[in-house]
């Protein structure tokens, strides 16, 4: 039995094609109205006290992990295994909260990706759902109808955006515009530096 690399690639691409058909992660869920449909269009920062953030695909592949509370590498893999087992098996019409080891895990599915955040039992679940939605919206704006592949290849950018959104497990920036502005400013700085590094004069200076 021979493997054709092309086959494999195609099969791997299928979910992402699906995503493109959805146009974006957000489209499908935009309708499910936000719990924080407030008079203020922008969210303000708060104190989510989120313990960790996980992005897991429907196949159980990890796409992003961010830990705000200390966990060893072993614990991390255990948590991921446990949670993806619980969450991926939940049906579509169930509520978005899972009680887990005395904590609550709030999750939401966008196309093929599950966004999960772990909070304390007495924290506001709806607020966290809102943070998740907010994050996805920012990603969508940044990548232009984001899909899973975008996050796979730009894993670090998803991180940087998350860092602008949350600090020490609290939401710190609620305006999508502001986050977008900050991220693009940083991107520009990096680009400028790269150009400089790529210029012939720099290479000569290095070589000599």
């Amino acid at each position: 039995m021979s493997f054709d690399p092309m086959d494999r690639l195609m099969s791997l691409c299928v979910p992402s094609l699906n995503l493109r058909m959805h146009r974006s992660l957000i489209d499908s869920l935009e309708i499910q109205s936000c719990y924080l449909l407030s008079e203020h269009s922008c969210l303000a920062s708060g104190f989510g006290s989120i313990h960790f953030v996980l992005l897991v695909s429907r196949q159980g592949k990890v796409r992003l992990t961010k830990w705000y509370s200390p966990y060893t590498q072993k614990e991390r893999s255990k948590v991921i295994r446990e949670l993806s087992g619980v969450i991926l098996n939940r049906g579509p019409k169930l509520c978005n909260f899972v009680e887990w080891r005395g904590y609550k895990v709030v999750y939401k599915r966008y196309a093929s990706l599950y966004f999960c955040m772990c909070i304390d039992a007495e924290d506001n679940e709806l607020e966290v759902l809102e943070i998740i939605h907010h994050y996805v919206e920012i990603l969508d704006r940044y990548f232009g109808s984001v899909c899973e592949l975008d996050l796979i290849f730009n894993f670090h950018k998803a991180y940087y955006i998350l860092d602008e959104l949350l600090i020490a497990g609290e939401i710190q920036e609620s305006s999508k515009k502001t986050v977008a502005r900050i991220i693009s400013a940083q991107d520009e700085m990096v680009e400028a530096a790269k150009e400089e590094a790529g210029s012939i004069s720099y290479i000569i200076a290095q070589a000599s």
């Binding site: 990890v62 709806l126 700085m189």
Partner: protein, 849 residues
């Protein structure tokens, strides 16, 4: 030139998706490559390698602690691009024990002082994640400076970091707290919410220390229209209201306002939660909250439904009416497809249970248990069992019903709670005299049910049923059927230890039947042949059933079977003789009479701490090490050993042990000639009276042991239904049978020890809260006057409102106020001892609101 040929992160990811090697070997090859590249002197090569490594660590769980020093090198680069990669790696992999952590302080300080705000933000993020006590101490001046930064981007991040700094290094409070409080008055919404977030966490750790800031919080609560800030504020107030009840009255109104006005469900939910958890004394607020909960419950959204139920369960202990009002919705939620919703509904339903509706609710739940999945089914069973048995079956009035319910539970196909049901069947048998006839009926029904024998989870129930039918055989309508059930051939499906109990029960039934047969003979000389027939029949059935077991592998089963057979062998002749000779002195007659005596002694429940109440006799050295003794007189002691074991062997007063001991007595006595055995038994009882359950027959304090486990009937006269409650009596057709209940004296001790640990944990947080309080005092100094004015206005208002209210209430209020004053008085004295400050500062808490 290395980096021209280096694989970038993107190459790595692409390669990973194309590779055919298998994940682990691809990762190990990539790691090899990274290890080589990361040693390069060129920072861009190094940083790319580090970038790849942190990708592998984040997604594939690769260990990256070995690269800690390389991460530090990358961070020290002047380029933002490298710094970012380095800091990301550090936040991802560093922890308190990382050895190179000491080297990062200066780098962080440099970046915190950088002119580039993005570099500052990187350093702040890093500090927020890895900050240790040392880092917090060394960098608190920088954080303090940044708290006053003109750039709101930096200021808000610095605010986010403050909490970690406070947590690790409480002394920082003295420095930074003032700035933090100042930020409460900022107009920038982002900074405001960051600060409120910090106070939210501080308040949840120690509410009292944040109490002096209540006026500021209150102002924001009234003015702000930002839902995110409001949610945090509500959390703060729910904490503060728990230590300062007067606050509740003040904030109830604005909270209701928010609840009415907002359309944001998350804010509504937070309001509801605050009201039901912390403001549960405020009627109007609670009513509004319950109305909102009802709105949640009727929504289609499973999230809201779940949260509605959750809020109800918070309200349940104080406002049961709220749950009762929504009973229909709760019952409906039991059939929801979401297990979380179902579980929450079940808890609520159990909270509703009272002695009036327990049968109705159990009926509903049993129907659900029959048709739901195994997990939820057992959840239902266990919660019904635990609620009904709470506090010695407090809510059960009709035990006949409850016993039948237990029998029903055993027949639910998914039931796996055999052990708990076993325990309750036996427990009820011992505690509740009036329930015994029904108990025997139910047990018999369980014993003949073929389904139970095949389910190993239910075997414990059968063991209880067989014990009950043996122990309380005098209530059985038809002992013959009972015996048939106990010796049915399918019992070989049971494990040996349960079969032993079966055989012993057969023995008890047999003794009972023979005894009543003999005594009937004694009284009426004319014996009918039908009685003789039936007793012979019974003996035969037993013999046929037990005979095969005399060759069983299990010694326990074998021995007991042989005991029964031996007894039958002895009795059979006498039964036959009896018909002809009418000899009163027949051996079997005496033996059965004796056995009957042995079995008729009643077993009662035992207090959980009965053993502790046995006082140690004077002169008994329990602590002394007897190891040497063995050496010296080992030889002499050996022959006596068996005896001494029985002396020292502590018998734990558990039901199972009692049962076994009981059986041992019986079996040992049958193997000996009756006269000898009875004298031995009497001697044993004389010597080890303290291990026997006391009964009316022997005097309670023969051995100086306190009588703390009286038999069931002893307490009967003491515990009576409340005679002052005629309603209750009239309602129920029959009054509640007596349930033997023993005082659990150990409880009070447990609570005090808990309180102690609580206090200890409080002292841990003490330093932080003390710092906050002293910082607050210093802080307030300047604003004192204006605050006083504002506050006194509030006080006046408050007094006016209270004056308008009805006089009945005012008395109550006064009382409350006094309480409040007393608590604040405590603060005062505490403050005074800590900070020797002027008297006007001390007044702050009183002018709170």
């Amino acid at each position: 030139m290395d980096n021209l040929f280096q694989r970038s992160l993107e190459d790595l990811i692409k390669g990973f998706r194309l590779q055919l090697l298998g994940d682990s070997s691809f990762i190990s090859r990539a790691l090899e490559e990274i290890r080589r590249e990361i040693k390069a002197t060129d920072l861009s090569t190094k940083s790319t390698a580090l970038h790849k490594l942190s990708y592998l660590a984040a997604i594939h769980g690769v260990d990256m602690s070995w690269a800690a020093f390389h991460a530090l090198e990358v961070v020290s680069s002047s380029r933002f691009h490298h710094k970012r990669i380095g800091y990301q790696a550090i936040t991802q992999s560093f922890h308190d024990q990382t050895s190179v952590l000491l080297l990062i302080t200066n780098q962080l300080r440099k970046d915190l002082n950088s002119v580039n705000e993005y570099e500052v933000s990187l350093a702040l993020e890093c500090l927020s994640r890895i900050g240790t006590r040392d880092l917090a101490r060394d960098l608190s001046p920088e954080v303090f400076t940044l708290l006053g930064s003109s750039k709101s981007f930096v200021r808000k991040k610095a605010t986010g970091v403050v909490l970690r700094v406070f947590d690790k290094y409480p002394d920082a409070v003295k420095v930074c707290f003032k700035r933090l409080v100042e930020n409460l008055e900022t107009s920038d919404p982002q900074i405001l919410s960051a600060v409120v977030g910090v106070f939210c966490e501080l308040a949840s750790k120690d509410p009292t220390s944040c109490l002096p800031l209540a006026p500021e919080f209150f102002k924001i609560l009234v003015d702000s229209r930002n839902n995110w800030v409001l949610i945090k504020l509500l959390k703060i107030f729910s904490k503060l209201a728990s230590v300062e009840p007067r606050l509740g009255r003040k904030v109830a109104e604005p909270i209701c306002e928010h609840m009415k006005r907002t359309v944001a469900k998350s804010l509504v939910f937070e309001c509801v939660r605050t009201v039901v958890s912390s403001l549960s004394d405020h009627e109007a607020a609670v009513k509004l909250a319950v109305a909102k909960i009802r709105e949640f419950l009727v929504e289609d959204d499973p999230n809201l439904k779940y949260l509605g139920l959750h809020a109800l369960s918070i309200a349940a202990p104080k406002h049961l009416w709220a749950v009762l009002e929504n009973k229909e919705a709760v019952v409906k939620a039991l059939s929801d497809e979401d297990p979380n919703v179902k579980l929450e509904a079940l808890h609520l339903l159990m909270a509703m249970v009272t002695e009036d509706n327990v049968s109705e609710i159990s009926r509903i739940l049993m129907n659900y248990a029959l048709k739901s999945d195994p997990l939820f089914c057992n959840e239902i069973i266990i919660s019904v069992l635990s609620v009904c048995s709470r506090n010695a079956y407090e809510i059960i009035v009709d035990f006949d019903w409850y016993v039948s319910l237990l029998g029903e539970m055993a027949r639910i196909p998914h039931c796996q709670r055999g052990e708990e049901i076993e325990h309750q069947l036996i427990d009820i048998g011992m505690r509740v005299r009036d329930a015994r006839p029904q108990l025997v009926r139910v047990s018999w029904a369980l014993l003949i049910d073929p389904a139970l024998l095949g389910n190993m989870f239910l075997h414990p129930i059968l063991s209880a049923a067989s014990w009950v039918s043996g122990e309380y055989v005098e209530f059985a309508k038809n002992p013959y059927e009972l015996v048939e059930a106990l010796v049915q051939p399918r019992t070989d499906l049971l494990p040996p230890y349960i079969r032993a109990i079966y055989i012993h029960s057969v023995f008890k039934v047999l003794v009972f039947c023979l005894r009543s047969y003999f005594s009937a003979q004694e009284s009426s000389s004319g014996s009918s042949s039908t009685v003789y027939e039936s007793i012979l029949n019974l003996v035969n059935v037993i013999e046929i059933g037990v005979w095969p077991l005399s060759g069983a592998y299990d010694v326990e089963v074998q021995e007991r079977a042989k005991n029964v057979l031996g007894f039958i062998g002895m009795a059979k002749q006498d039964i036959a003789k009896k018909v002809n000779l009418q000899d009163n002195e027949a051996e079997a007659c005496r033996v059965t009479a004796f056995m009957e005596d042995a079995f008729s002694e009643e077993l009662g429940p035992i207090s959980a701490n009965a053993r502790e109440k046995v006082c140690v006799p004077d002169g008994l050295e329990l602590e002394e090490n007897l190891g040497d003794l063995e050496e010296i007189c080992g030889k002499f002691l050996k022959p006596v050993e068996s005896d001494s074991v029985s002396c020292t062997d502590k018998i734990t007063f558990s039901v199972s042990n009692l049962r076994i001991r009981d059986q041992q007595e019986a079996s040992s006595s049958t193997s000996l000639p009756p006269k000898e055995s009875s004298s031995l038994l009497a001697e044993h009882r004389k010597r080890h009276g303290m291990y026997y359950l006391t009964s009316e027959k022997n005097d309670p304090d023969s051995n100086g042991t306190p009588n703390d486990y009286p038999p069931a009937n002893d307490l009967a006269s003491e515990i009576l239904l409340d005679p002052l409650d005629p309603k209750r009596k009239a309602k129920h057709r029959k009054s509640r049978p007596v349930v033997v209940k023993l005082d659990e004296g150990g409880e009070s001790r447990i609570t005090t020890s808990q309180a102690k640990t609580k206090q200890e944990s409080v002292t841990d947080d003490e330093s932080l809260s003390r710092d906050i309080q002293s910082a607050l005092l210093v802080n307030k100094k300047g604003k004192e006057r204006e605050k006083c004015e504002g506050n006194s206005n509030l006080v006046v208002q408050e007094e006016e409102t209270s004056r308008i209210e009805k006089p009945q209430n005012s008395e109550k209020k006064k009382k409350k106020k006094k309480n409040g004053e007393r608590t604040s008085g405590k603060h005062r004295s505490r403050r005074r001892s800590e900070v020797a400050s002027s008297s006007e500062q001390v007044e702050i808490p009183d002018l709170l609101l």
